[in-house]
Amino acid sequence: MMVSFTVNGDTATAEIEPGTPLLWVLRDHLGLKGTKFGCGAAQCGACIVHLDGDAVHACQVQADGVDGAQIEKIEGLNDKLGTALKDAWIAEQVPQCGYCQPGMIMNAATLLTQNPDPSSEDIAQHMTNICRCGTYPRVTKAIQRAAKEVL
């Protein structure tokens, strides 16, 4: 079947089997590799993208169910908030292996949209992504730095 949606502002179409997770449509059918596969079970958060503005695990969303939707992912997150987050991530030197970071940044963008000035506790409650390298303390600092920048 054919699906069509907007990804990072561009119209995209793909021929897929019914029930295909959005993650594989984005990564393999459309070739946008910034969004990562980690667990396939909505546990690690490496695949988080924005679906009509909400953070979702792309491994759990069936692509045929989101025909016509607006999808934003790491490569396209370049508005004021997105730029502030990416700059803060570099300023705080967050990444180690880096593999979880696109999902982290997408989830952080949702947090700051909902709560522009989060406390450390707010951040810890919202950010359930797994970083196996243990960059969590720097993620917190980067989110707070970006929040200051945008406020």
Partner: protein
């Protein structure tokens, strides 16, 4: 008294490393045209426009070596950091083997050994390039070399006011036939360092990782006509697929191309990865030895190890004797003791849980004669060797593209590289490029685990109440057998992965560590911290038990055995200051490698056994800190990794099957679980030690000691899960 000189694990590994330093003149394969004439060596290329390309032999798996190693070279050659670009070296053991692993002469990124192992060699390499540039400038300016000096990116002639950029010199001189000899006399005084130790230097890989750039990791590589694969394996080594009862059902799925048997696995090959994953879900395989494997349980295996560790009539391998010290007969020491303290400890199987599942992309051409491979590995030269062995491909006929690793933690040091060989074999069979990705479920089920261990410790107390003689017996499988047949054979079975944490951190009167090696068919592997995770958990827990039985403050007890190690004493003083040490309830300490102290403060909920982690402190002396910002990230990350190991993580086997399937039942710490963490690096100009896993695994003992301090209950089995704490509180 037989006083032992402390021998750290890295001290042991590095002994003799200096013998191997060599200098390659020109790096083979570096294209140079007459129009873009440049100076190139094995690690450095300078272009006419002044760009300085510095190559790092180490893997980039989050460790930051791709930045830290070039910093060392750039420092000694006086490069302008803004003109430096970084990249990986090629795969060549002769030119690029890690000096730490001098026994083997291989390219290996493991054991916190990249900056520490390459430090001297990279400084000399940088100094050699600087000397070359000065000689070139002397010719160009017709002045004696002695009158020249360097500033970042420039050679200066102070008396005439003339200067040349590195680019100008390189363009004029090209690569000389020989590079000048350099000695330690040519190195900078550390007091004049401009880059090493600089607080503001940033990692060169950070922007691409933050922006989600394509093709950083092998999992992101895409080739025309590429097929996708999943593989199914057992959780035991060397099992053969006998039958695939579900083959027809898998083949009936849309976009599935084939069900392909490999020597120890069965693959689903498909035109999309989602189809390959769907096929794996339906996959049923009948394996060889299934009936006997079904009797395996990790609990029973651990009981077996404990009886071996506690049976002191059974002789194991004397670690200090293997390292060249005299063997110790501990029997008479115990017989002569006024009192003998003893304790038993255990650790469970644990899983690396790197977020990027194991994967590789292979393109085999010319009927199997040529292999092109994209993979993230901790040991590139062993990967090409493994392909050569398995597929009869000449070493020069494998081209490896060294990808970033989305986490490794030892998993990608497993030298047979089964996960990469899958892709190579499938590409050959299907005559197409193949991307093979293990599902998370298979990454766990067929994981290679940090082995289970059982420990038995004894300490001899003299008539005057002094306790300074320790005997540590550990029973464990030896990971190298499974992960690295090459090193296993060359090392004559020396259990290099089990020994860390068994070399003495203290100045003992008498000390003996003994390994009882057990061989099971469980797939085991080095994992961050390797043997030190279990060995230090046992040893440093036992220290607190002995101190408690003596009525001695745990910090004072450690100070007593650290006399003569001034750097170690300074670290202990620092941790006392950081924690305002007063042995208050809930405060726990450990000290490891003679150079790192970790303290934890916590509360234990008396009903549920839940921990409230209040603070973690770490004081460490790792010598020169080359890249402080990243070093702090590495130590904090190591503490969090091992905090997670210590509190939550366990792999169990029931009826020969791994019980855990995904992160929902292999529980790792998330942001909400992380306490405030403070790390202090002692100022030093000594040669650098590693920081990535250096000592951070010892946090397991600090936690056990803090739990005892808070609750009076001693946990002797890691991980220290809430369930185990609750059980201890009830007992």
């Amino acid at each position: 008294m037989n006083k032992l000189t402390p021998l750290s694990r890295r001290g042991f590994m590095q002994a003799g490393a200096g013998l191997l330093f060599s200098f390659s003149v020109a790096k083979p394969g570096f294209a140079q045209s007459e129009t873009d004439k440049a100076l190139s060596s094995a690690f450095v290329e300078i272009l006419g426009d002044g760009t300085v390309k510095i190559l790092s032999p180490a893997a980039e798996m989050g460790n930051g070596s791709l930045t830290a190693i070039p910093i060392i070279v750039a420092e000694e050659m006086d490069a302008d950091w803004d003109q430096v670009v970084v990249d990986f070296t090629g795969v060549d053991d002769q030119a690029y083997s890690n000096p730490t692993f001098w026994h083997y002469g291989i390219m290996l990124t493991a054991g916190s050994s990249s900056v520490s192992g390459f430090y001297d060699q990279m400084r000399l390499t940088g100094a050699q390039i600087r000397k070359t540039l000065i000689a070139g400038a002397a010719d160009m300016l017709s002045v004696p070399a002695e009158e020249l000096s360097t500033e970042p990116g420039m050679v200066m002639h102070a008396s005439s006011g003339q200067s040349l950029t590195f680019g100008e010199i390189a363009a004029a001189m090209g690569t000389p036939d020989t590079l000048p000899e350099v000695t330690k006399e040519d190195l900078k005084d550390p007091g004049t360092f401009r880059l090493i130790g600089h607080a503001d230097l940033q990692r060169r890989d950070a922007p691409a990782k933050v922006h989600g750039d394509a093709d950083l990791y092998s999992i992101d590589v895409e080739l025309p006509g590429m097929l996708y694969a999943t593989v199914t394996r057992t959780c035991f080594t060397g099992r053969v697929p006998l039958d695939v009862p579900s083959e027809a059902d898998v083949l009936a799925l849309p976009n599935v191309v084939a069900v392909t048997r490999l020597p120890d696995a069965v693959a689903v090959v498909a035109s999309t990865y989602e189809a390959a994953l769907a096929g794996e879900e339906l996959m049923q395989v009948t394996w060889s030895q299934a009936e006997t494997d079904a009797t395996y349980s990790s609990d029973a295996a651990l009981d077996g190890l404990a009886s071996l560790a506690e049976d002191t009539s059974l002789e194991g391998m004397d670690v200090m004797a293997l390292a060249g010290a005299p063997a110790t007969d501990f029997g008479p020491i115990l017989e002569g003791a006024a009192r003998v303290h003893a304790g038993s400890y255990r650790t469970d199987f644990m899983y690396h849980a790197q977020i990027e599942p194991l994967n590789a992309v292979a393109h085999v051409t010319e009927g199997g004669a040529k292999v092109e491979l994209w993979a993230g590995t901790q040991t590139p030269s062993h990967l090409t060797r493994a392909i050569g062995d398995a597929m009869s491909v000449a070493p020069g006929d494998t081209t490896l593209h060294r990808s970033y690793l989305g986490g490794a933690f030892g998993r990608r040091a497993a030298m047979d590289h089964d996960w990469a060989l899958d892709a190579v074999r499938l590409s050959k069979i299907h005559a197409a490029p193949v991307k093979s990705i293990w599902s998370r479920e298979m990454d766990i089920h067929a994981g290679r685990f940090r082995p289970i261990t059982a420990h038995y410790l004894q300490a001899a107390e003299d008539a005057d109440g002094t306790v300074a003689s320790f005997y540590h017996r550990v029973a464990s499988d030896t990971p190298l057998r499974m992960s690295d047949q090459y090193r296993f054979r060359q090392g004559n079975g020396f259990p290099v992965i089990t020994t860390p944490g068994l070399f003495p951190s203290y100045n003992y009167a008498h000390y003996k560590a003994e390994i009882i090696r057990v061989e099971s068919d469980v797939r085991v592997s080095p994992m961050r911290g390797v043997g030190a995770f279990a060995n230090v958990f046992a040893m440093e827990s036992f220290f607190d038990e002995v101190a408690h039985e003596q009525g001695t403050d745990p910090l004072e007890f450690r100070r007593g055995l650290t006399q003569g190690n001034e750097r170690g004493l300074a670290v202990l003083d620092k941790i006392a200051e950081m924690t305002s040490w007063d042995a208050r309830p809930g405060l726990g300490l450990c000290f490891t490698e003679g150079r790192m102290a970790i303290a934890v403060e916590l509360d234990v909920d008396p009903d549920s056994g839940a921990l409230d982690l209040k603070h973690v402190w770490c004081a460490t002396d790792v010598g020169v800190v080359v890249h402080p910002n990243n070093a702090e990230n590495q130590v904090v990350g190591g503490l969090i990794f091992h905090l997670s190991n210590s509190l939550r993580e366990r792999i169990t086997f029931t009826n020969g099957q791994v019980d855990q399937r995904n992160y929902y039942n292999y529980d790792v710490l998330k942001m909400a679980d992380i306490p405030p963490i403070d790390v202090h690096f002692m100022a030093s100009t000594e040669a650098p030690e590693g920081v990535g896993d250096f000592g951070t695994e010892a946090i397991a003992a600090a936690l056990a000691n803090a739990i005892f301090s808070a609750s009076g209950k001693r946990l002797r089995h890691a991980p220290l899960t809430q369930e185990r704490i609750a059980e201890a509180l009830k007992a």
